[in-house]
């Protein structure tokens, strides 16, 4: 036990940023950064570190929703496809239907949240396992995304849209990175400081105990999938801003990267343990690793192998530590 003294239990900094089992990954991240600082000239520069932040925005935003889902013992395989669907809805409404882009974004986010609501209802009302419900949604959303333009991409958005991902306010923060940080902060505060957020831990720990304790498990479950869908849609908007284009094949296998980031960050697939600080570390590990391997000139194929090994190692190390 880190803290046993009641007087300090609520106020200690250690508890405030409690990593809920993610200290191992944090050590790994630090070691990785130290190694890359020495192995490359360019890793440890403000410019490169800002690049990494830009590169992880999409993954980071989706990983917050996925953390909620995995915390309650679920899984959301649809996020990659929902990201693409949201992008296409936004692009179609603004460029083909002539809606203002702001309004198109809002509709896209509503559609994305709606896919989550459908997944959540399938899980709670029909008893479909989360794996299957979201697998089905993954296929449906990808198909819909393709149907909108018959597989074509859409390019050419108003100038301010792309600039959200380019202009660095105060010399370092783009709007998209800022958005990710806000999502991190809200997700963290929600899990840590609201009773609804804490109920997610109870549901993941033992859904029957949670139900008998008076927690509305079904509503919470639907809510979690809605948030996951919504954040996947938001990540789609961010990706569109970064690319200044939308295409229906975007986000392919992003669900796997997202799950990997959450699991590396110490959130247990069986539910009930984990949190946003760990997920942020998981996202950073994947981001730093990709960036570092690029700087080292490692081929994309080898990168896949390395990332696979890191996922296996991170989870194995946690499992060993528990023994």
């Amino acid at each position: 036990m880190v803290t046993t003294d009641r007087a300090t239990a609520g106020s200690g900094l250690g508890r405030l940023f409690s990593l809920r089992g993610a200290t191992g990954p944090l050590v790994g991240l630090v070691l990785l950064c130290i190694f890359l600082s020495f192995a490359t000239d360019s890793f440890l520069s403000v410019r490169n570190l800002l690049n990494i932040l830009d590169q992880i925005t999409v993954l980071g935003i989706m990983a917050v929703g996925m953390t909620f889902v995995i915390l309650i013992g679920g899984i959301d395989l649809a996020v990659g496809s929902v990201l693409a669907l949201a992008m296409m809805v936004m692009g179609y409404l603004s460029n083909d239907m002539g809606l203002p882009l702001q309004l198109a974004i809002v509709v896209a986010l509503i559609v994305a949240a709606g896919t989550g609501a459908v997944s959540g209802l399938l899980v709670t009302a029909f008893g479909v396992p989360a794996f299957i419900a979201t697998l089905a949604m993954m296929s449906v959303a990808r198909g819909l995304a393709n149907m909108i333009t018959d597989g074509q991409q859409i390019v050419g958005f108003p100038g301010w849209f792309n600039l959200m991902a380019i202009i660095r306010y105060g010399g370092f923060l783009t709007l998209t990175v800022g958005l990710m940080l806000v999502v991190f902060a809200l997700g963290w505060a929600f899990l840590r400081y609201t009773s609804a957020g804490r109920s997610l831990y109870a549901i993941g720990g033992n859904a029957e105990v949670a139900r008998l304790a008076g927690i509305n498990v079904k509503l919470a479950t639907i809510g979690v999938y809605v948030v996951s869908g919504l954040l996947a849609g938001l990540a789609g908007v961010v990706l569109a801003a970064r690319l200044d284009s939308v295409q229906p094949s975007s986000g392919f296998t992003y669900e796997l990267d997202t799950i990997a980031a959450v699991v590396i960050g110490g959130t247990s697939l069986s539910g009930g343990t984990g949190g946003i600080p760990g997920t942020i570390i998981g996202v950073l590990i994947i981001g730093v690793l990709r960036n570092g391997l690029n700087l080292l000139g490692v081929s994309p194929f080898t990168q896949q192998v390395v990332i696979g090994l890191v996922i296996a190692l991170a989870v194995a190390a946690e499992a060993l530590k528990k023994k």
Binding site: A9, S18, T194, R198, G205, V209, L212
Partner: protein, 497 residues
């Protein structure tokens, strides 16, 4: 007893076990002879579980020696212990429900011929073991749907198929009814006659007297007493277990005088487990519900508290219709359930006590919807002190003894000041000393004006704490007895009607 003349098959000398700086076993000596039943008794936390796990090879001792059938014995894994003939039947059965009995008996060691599973051989051998235990079911039958007693026997068959010469039975009757217990005892007698040595762990002292040849009592990691016959007064054994002489097990029960708080009318469960039940509970009353296994008691109280759906009937609280649709709704109305199975329904075992208490008291630990760890821990600390839970708020629930876990489940509800508290099997798996503490909480609740419903399979317990007793049989309500007229005879008459 002549058995004491034979040389022991298993001897333990100076067995110690430490976790970090804490020593939980302080040098235990134990002899077990072939064909005898040694009862291992003690309160939860006395060390009997640790000791039996050491014998079964799941835990390694820190010091001490063991010999088994004359040779030094130090199993590194349960598998090694089993190979040497030492088997343990755990309290929670570990059968694979979707496989057949035969497959369960030979799991991991399926007999093969030429590399292919020899089903016939497997089924024949399983059949032989089942017969040896007098269990008349087909070995090809799936384990799912077997009664708990029969599942227990399958576990024993599994151990016997591996030529076990020593069986450790950990609370084998905890989930068994009277007849099932009888059946198990007859099989234990048979095993004894076969020369199998048995270490028997139980909280039910009456059955120890029936089945055991010798009694070993442990307390706080020491062997405190050994009786060479089980013909010892229960009180003597209990006093050895708790280390003090017992006053009365049950506190004095107050007489209720208040108005009717809860009234249940014509209630029937959606799953058909009970029909047309009606009763009233008054302010400050302790209302017992008795009946045999399968009478529908648990289903009834789960329906009253919203945990299970209702087919017909109403529940009124102070004259207001509160027929529940969800546990959430019942809890809001002040009707709470302390469920039968703490580990599956009462607690998130790998979360802390503070979190567990917080889950049921989200209003109390939050301000404007915001919660802090500090608030959760402070609130839990308060409840822990109030209910005398031994432990700290940050401790994980599964690190505590059964009695303390139950107090946490109680504490999490009582902190809400409920109007009706329903306790389903409140002392199951809890040792004698801790039970009286639970009874005291129950009585204190009644005194404070709460209407209390207690469901129990332990007849003495229902009679001991209740003002009135509702008796059920096969889903029907067969009578309500006043404290004065309720005794084991009158209740059993109604329960078997």
């Amino acid at each position: 007893m002549t058995s004491t003349d034979k040389p022991p098959v298993l001897t333990l000398r100076g067995i110690r076990k430490s976790y970090g700086p804490t020593e939980v076993l302080h040098g235990i000596d134990l002899d077990v002879r072939a064909g005898e039943v040694v009862a291992l008794l003690g309160e939860n936390g006395a060390g009997k579980s640790t000791l039996s796990h050491i014998i079964a090879g799941t835990i390694w001792p820190s010091a001490g020696t063991m010999t088994w059938q004359g040779a030094p014995y130090a199993p590194a894994t349960p598998r090694q212990a089993i190979d040497l003939g030492v088997g343990m039947i755990h309290q929670e059965l570990r059968l694979l429900e979707h496989l057949s009995i035969a497959e369960n008996v030979f799991v991991g060691r399926t007999p093969t011929r030429g590399g292919i599973v020899d089903r016939r051989e497997m089924e024949e051998r399983a059949h032989k073991q089942l017969q040896r235990l007098g269990l008349d079911v087909s070995p090809t039958r799936l384990v799912r749907g077997l009664s708990t007693a029969n599942q227990q026997l399958v576990e024993i068959a599994k151990a016997l198929a591996l030529n076990a010469r020593l069986l450790i039975l950990d609370e084998p009757t905890a989930a068994l009814g009277g007849q099932e217990t009888e059946l198990l005892f007859r099989q234990i007698e048979r095993l004894k006659a076969d020369g199998v040595a048995i270490v028997y762990i139980s909280h039910r002292l009456e059955e120890i007297k029936r089945i055991a040849d010798r009694v070993v009592v442990m307390r706080d990691g020491d062997k405190v007493k050994e009786f060479d016959s089980a013909d010892v007064a229960v009180r003597t054994i209990v006093e050895a277990m708790v280390g003090r002489s017992l006053e009365r097990m049950f506190p004095p029960i107050p007489t209720p005088s208040g108005e009717v708080v809860l009234s249940v009318r014509g209630l029937s469960g959606a799953n058909g487990a009970f029909r047309d039940v009606g009763f009233e509970v008054r302010k400050g009353e302790i209302f017992g519900i008795a009946g045999l296994i399968g009478a529908g008691r648990t289903e009834l109280v789960r329906a009253i508290t919203g945990a299970d759906p209702i087919a017909a009937g109403e529940v009124f609280l102070h004259g207001r219709d509160v027929t529940p649709r969800s546990p959430r709704q019942s809890i809001r109305n002040g009707i709470v359930l302390v469920p039968e199975d703490r580990k599956l329904q009462g607690l998130v075992l790998h979360h802390s006590i503070a979190e567990n208490i917080g889950y049921a008291n989200r209003r109390a630990v939050s301000r404007n919807g915001f919660v802090t760890d500090g608030a959760v821990v402070r609130f839990a600390d308060e409840q822990i002190r109030r209910f005398g839970v031994k432990g700290r708020a940050q401790q994980r629930a599964d690190e505590m003894s059964g009695g303390n876990q139950q107090k946490v489940v109680l504490a999490k509800w009582l902190a809400r000041d409920p109007k009706v508290v329903v306790l389903d099997e409140p002392t199951r798996g809890i040792d004698v000393g801790a039970r009286s503490a639970i009874y005291e909480v129950i009585v204190a609740l009644a005194v404070s004006g709460v209407a209390v419903i207690v469901v129990s399979s332990d007849l003495e317990e229902v009679l001991g704490v209740s003002n009135r007793v509702l008796v059920m049989a096969a889903g029907r309500q067969t009578g309500i007895l006043d404290r004065a007229e309720a005794n084991d005879v009158t209740v059993m008459e109604l329960a078997t009607r």
